[in-house]
Subunit: 357 residues, 2 copies
């Protein structure tokens, strides 16, 4: 027993020395690349550089590469030079380009090089990576922050601070997932939300993509209105807020919606269903129905303002992949997130925060 306890003690020391928590502290030699350095990839690049990680960027656009160099960030002239010998590569750039980028970067890096992306939909790319046999080292990711501007010049090193950053753990990709959890929480101060790729797409359809459709419809209808000029002159907070993302580059919004088409159309049906109920209540001047619907809406809104969380530490033996993934999915489905991960030779433990029920 004592020996076993001592053994366990050694194990823990081992965990701390080799654990992913130390990606930055012990493994100061971590070498990272970011391929595709627009708004999101560029913000990843700036942050990694700002905290002192050895990082190199690359973008197919020559002007973007020049901007990065002017900002003092190491940037390679060729993709292969950016990613050669790297431990982790972040894949950015337009959504439709990600599969080809993944193949190219995978071919140019070693088997133990961890890959992840920052695209806004996940199921298609996750399936593609599985076809390519990359599940063990590719972790689909989606940092949920942005602005209505585009390009490296709009990038901000603090863009992801406090933001949700979805990572999709697969049973045969847990080692890569755990390393990335630590990197994302430590370097970006983001909330890691573990979620299956298709589940992510269903959720963001409602949490992000349909809001883009509504914003486009509101701004577009105003543009076509015979009262266009007066509408824009009287546009108060509700219109400004409700149309903000209609100002994002049209092709980026289009790619995002097309990359998640079925889920977006399904979520849109939920929203237009609720809208029909509001309109029906208004048409019949049914005060009670109208007030009840808005009370439902306000309940969701109130939770956005701030939810109390309970913190939980959970440990798994390293081999119990099914249980670990099931628990991770449950954290994400409950609206929770991970704030840390320690992975040792035999045990992995997470710190999770879940909304209090």
């Amino acid at each position: 027993m004592r020996q076993a306890r001592r053994g366990a003690g050694r194990l823990r020391d081992d965990t701390e020395r080799r654990g992913t928590r130390m990606v930055l502290r012990a493994d100061a030699r971590l070498r990272v690349a970011v391929v595709g350095t627009g708004l999101i990839g560029g913000s990843v690049l700036l942050r990694l550089h700002a905290v002192g990680v050895d990082v190199t960027g690359w973008d197919p656009d020559e002007q973007t590469r020049r901007q990065a160099r002017l900002a003092g960030v190491p940037t390679a002239e060729r993709l292969v030079d950016a990613v050669a010998g790297r431990d982790v590569v972040f894949l950015g750039g337009p959504l439709p380009t990600l599969p080809a980028t993944l193949v190219e970067v995978a071919a140019a890096t070693a088997e133990d090089c961890l890959l992840t992306d920052v695209g806004s939909t996940k199921a298609e790319l996750a399936a593609f990576a599985a076809e390519q046999g990359l599940t063990s080292r590719f972790v689909p990711g989606h940092p949920m922050a942005g602005t209505d501007r585009a390009g490296l010049t709009a990038a901000l090193p603090d863009l992801f601070t406090g933001a949700a950053w979805v990572l999709c753990p697969a049973p045969d990709g847990l080692a890569a997932f755990r390393r990335l959890v630590t990197l994302v929480t430590d370097v970006f101060a983001a909330r890691v939300v573990p979620m299956a790729a298709d589940r992510h797409d269903a959720v963001v359809a409602l949490a992000s993509h349909v809001p883009h459709l509504l914003a486009g419809a509101l701004a577009g209808a105003a543009h076509r209105s015979p009262s266009r000029d007066a509408v824009l002159a009287l546009a108060a907070g509700s219109f400004r807020d409700g149309t903000r993302v209609a100002g994002t580059p049209a092709h980026r919004t289009g790619n995002m919606l097309r990359g998640n088409r079925d889920q977006v159309l399904a979520a849109l049906t939920q929203v237009t269903g609720f809208l029909d109920e509001l309109a029906a209540a208004l048409r019949c001047d049914d005060v009670d129905a109208l007030t009840a619907r808005y009370a439902e809406a306000a309940a969701a809104r109130a939770e956005l303002a701030g939810r109390p969380y309970d913190e939980q530490v959970m440990s798994f033996p390293v081999g119990a992949a099914a249980a670990e993934v099931a628990w991770l999915y449950d954290v994400g489905a409950a609206g929770g997130h991970l704030s840390g991960c320690r992975a040792g030779a035999d045990t992995v433990s997470y710190v999770a925060r879940r909304p209090r029920v």
Copy 2:
């Protein structure tokens, strides 16, 4: 000729001495009341008090009156005491209460006491005022600012700075309108948008009321979603912005929508029509159509960010009511606003700013 010119010169002096521009400067004894001092009326009250106008507030709610007194603002115990002997009375409070408040305040004030309201719809109240024979002294108004909170404790003296403030000039109420233009531009630093009452309601249906419906539908659908917790956890800027006004008090939103029902339903049809086009383009994966629709949306959005204005000074003989009203409506329809008014015995002149074409 010379005498005529001298005459004109005297006229101008007269204008400046008696003009409404001097409501505050020369007429330091202006006495104002605000009846109904929630978020909007309360902000009007705080601003008037802050700039040194002799103002008294009143609210049917005893706690609100106490809050006003605690804030050091003169507040009467009875409506009649608040409005007696006043030159201008602002009417606030819930939309459905405004007709009764108008009748009560009109009965308690002299014929030359100017009345205006701060409600979010205008046609019904304007028609009611006409029935009551109050057009010559009641000017329907709508300051277009707010927050998602309610009550005097949420009121802010600077709430209307730079905001659009619709005032509805009637041919037989121009004298009152001109005085109010000066008061609103001088005291509140707002942009006065002159507009017919029914036109206002059609415009705000799209600029403000439908955005409230969309926000309610989005937040309500999220509330009912089986993925509710995950949706709220992943809610990024687009969802937060798009649902902000769903957090406003349900009864206030309900009153606003019901007070403008037909116009809101008509504007909603325009927006859902555009939404259907976006959904159809997405369903067919028609990139060009999707991008073209978003380009329309972005065009409207871009103008919100800032439009260049041309300034214009326009004068009318005091008796030319039809021409004056027609020009005022045209300024509002063009997305313009008034930044000043000088009314003399024979001539009235406005400073207008119109979006450059």
